[in-house]
């Protein structure tokens, strides 16, 4: 009822203002929107996250003490960036996600992308891999190789990195619940290339808290999941000094519908959660904190995004120094990867996405990111085609080499608007963080479904604003034609599933059974203790235990997670 009433007013508003839409050269038919969503040009004077925006900002909008809040670039609290010269000295890493079908396919793609001038590898895995199932598991039916590369055993991983010297690239692996298995496989492949773990550079995402909050790919409940993450942080701190043992991710939180403030708050709360667990285990904060890394989403609201990057660095620096007593300045630094917002791309008029991605990427650069993935225009529909993936990479190269924005560090510093927005985001995020602290920390908050509910509410609010025409999405609820959406699907050969199943079965049949059995038993025993699991998983993958088998050990030992239903 309430819904119907709202829609009606929006329609009326849309009618009233059709003339406006026409001056903007939209086809008049469009005022109805493509799917019955009425369009209204009445602008909402607020950020994408709902922070009200005034028409003009001046000195009164910036609270006293700005210099202290800003600091110098490369110095506490790092509002202006992590390095004194930023991109003059070194550009960000252009890291494009790749991975589809079989390990052979993705290996070819890696070779192609490296030849195109990309400077880091990034791997996407298929759903069964992400959920800890081998290709021949019943739950994997129809999904093998579909959204990324299928990895069931060390053999797949050997094929994936064939011909790529692992000490000369950095590799980011987008994997969470079974991250410890993939990390171990990567180390084992390097061993076979004669490269020690200490020489390996890269990242495993391994951020389980955001899985429970947003992405929903899990194996075990939150507590044991976080325990395994902390095992990795601890092990990497000792054995892989160049490796980022975790990528604390706001990306998925934002994509699930969070506002920029919520993304900032819940991600940093996750970071606090991991640091607390590490400290509880007796680790010195400066021992692991320099290897923690972050991952932001970059959405359409240009200034808000820039402010988010700046506020994030400042919040983290203060927390690490003042709350956790970190002494090493590197522990204070929020190093981040960023990806343009997949959720902002539209299936309608997909070429428009090139413009969105460019603007978002520019915001990430002006915000001072360390590494960036630009989405392909067709990413909302399927895995990107080669052409689309190339345009996405070229977009970064244009920003880096043609626009001149890399010549100056933090060019928006001192802008009344950007500074006031940065302060505002910091305040609002900190108020969330305090609420989470009051609940007993992020793990408790997640178990209660608090961030989940906040995000679901924001997603619903946004959707209603779009349907009421109060938010414009170009090509969807305004300026759209009646054109058919054609979905170019990168076809995944069903043969891949069959071959992958065969391969994992062959591996199981061929491996040294006694060695495998011993490694599995040791792992099972280790799960019943509070020992660090990484060495045991490493032994298991060396013995060609599969990803599914190892995940099953976790399922038995720790149980399977059931999420709270929150709306």
């Amino acid at each position: 009822m309430a819904n119907a009433a709202r829609t009606e007013t929006a329609t009326e508003r849309a009618k009233r203002e059709t003339s406006d839409a026409e001056t903007a050269e939209a086809p008049p038919a469009l005022s109805g929107g493509e799917n019955g969503a009425p369009a209204s040009p009445t602008p909402l004077f607020e950020t994408l996250s709902g922070i009200p925006v005034k028409p003009l900002y001046g000195p009164v909008d910036v609270k006293p003490g700005l210099e202290e809040r800003l600091g110098e670039p490369g110095k506490f609290p790092f509002t202006r960036g992590l390095h004194p010269e930023m991109y003059r000295k070194r550009l960000w890493t252009m890291r494009q996600f790749a991975g589809f079908g079989s390990a052979e396919h993705t290996n070819q793609r890696f070779h192609y992308l490296l030849a195109q001038g990309m400077t880091g590898l990034s791997t996407a895995f298929d759903m069964p891999t992400l959920m800890g199932y081998d290709a021949d598991h019943a739950m994997a039916f129809g999904e093998v190789g579909r959204e990324g590369v299928a990895i069931s055993s060390l053999e797949d991983m050997e094929i994936l990195f064939r011909g790529i010297p692992l000490d000369q690239v950095t590799t980011s692996m987008t994997i969470n619940a079974p991250a410890v298995v993939l990390l171990a496989m990567y180390v084992a492949v390097a061993e076979k290339q004669g490269i020690g773990a200490e020489k390996l550079g890269g990242t495993v995402q391994a951020d389980m808290l955001k899985e429970f909050i947003a992405q929903k790919e899990w194996i075990c409940p939150p507590r044991p999941s976080v325990k395994i993450c902390v095992d990795m942080i601890e092990w990497c701190a000792k054995h892989m000094p160049k490796w980022n043992s975790i990528s604390i991710s706001g990306y998925h939180i934002r994509e699930a519908g969070a506002t920029a403030v919520q993304e900032l708050a819940f991600t940093i709360a996750d970071g606090i959660g991991y640091v607390e667990e590490c400290v509880k285990r007796g680790m010195d904060v400066d021992e692991f904190a320099p290897r923690l890394s972050f991952f932001w989403d970059v959405h359409n609201d240009f200034f808000e995004e820039i402010a988010k990057f700046r506020a994030g660095r400042r919040i983290w620096a203060k927390l690490m120094r003042d709350r956790f007593g970190a002494k090493n300045p590197r522990s204070w630094q929020l190093r981040t990867h960023a990806q343009t917002a997949g959720v902002s791309l539209t299936a309608q008029q997909p070429l428009n996405n090139v413009a969105r991605v460019a603007i978002q990427a520019l915001a990430a650069v002006l915000g001072g990111t360390q590494s960036l993935h630009t989405n392909s225009m067709d990413e909302t529909l399927a895995l990107p085609t080669e052409e689309a993936a190339t345009v996405a990479l070229r977009t970064q190269q244009i920003i880096a080499h043609e626009t001149g924005v890399t010549n100056v560090v933090d060019p928006f510093a001192g802008s009344y608007f950007v500074e006031s927005l940065t302060d505002r985001m910091e305040e609002e995020a900190m108020s969330y963080i305090r609420r989470i602290d009051e609940m007993g920390g992020i793990i408790q908050a997640v178990e209660r479904g608090f961030p989940q509910k906040e995000i679901a509410d924001s997603a619903y609010r946004f959707q209603m604003q779009v349907e009421e025409g109060r938010r414009t999405i170009v090509g969807v609820n305004r300026f759209g034609g009646e054109e058919e959406i054609s979905i170019p699907v990168l076809k995944i050969d069903p043969e891949i599933e069959r071959r992958q199943i065969e391969r994992v079965r062959a591996v199981r049949a061929r491996r040294d059974a006694a060695r495998w059995e011993q490694a599995m038993k040791d792992l099972r025993d280790a799960c019943r203790s509070d020992k660090n699991l990484v060495p045991y998983v490493l032994d298991a993958v060396r013995a060609y235990a599969t990803l599914g088998e190892i995940s099953d050990v976790f399922r038995e030992a720790y149980g399977v997670y059931r999420e709270p239903a929150v709306f």
């Binding site: 309430a2 799917n35 069964p128 199932y133 929903k216 994509e255 909302t380 679901a456 979905i487 699907v489």
Partner: protein, 144 residues
Amino acid sequence: MARKIRVLVAKAGLDGHDRGAKVVASAMRDAGFEVIYTGLHQTPEMIVQAAVQEDVDAVALSILSGAHMTLFPRVLELMREKGIGDVLLTGGGIIPKADMTALRQMGVGELFGPGTSTTAIIEYIRGAAPGGAASRSAKAGSAR
């Protein structure tokens, strides 16, 4: 008491992107529906057993993983097997036009792509769901 439209909203397959399913479920609630939300990672067997027990008027599946051509037909087949072939099977996700047409021919209802308004989905279910809960009568209680 007035009859309520009951809809099962499920996420089929392994991917965890439940933003759309949740938004649609909330919108249905606000339109006065009773929504049975099953959550993530549902297999066709789970979905159909829930649909039978909950005596729903429509089953709405969200599939974003690209596995729609295996999952929809399987759910439909099981629904027919369990005697609820008259219940509307609908859903949404990233589904190419040709696949939508093929699924329609099999007996799946309208499928909704990215950018669809929740109002459109709700209106469709209002119109297309069969008498469902009211018409499928006594078997609901005792036989199952």
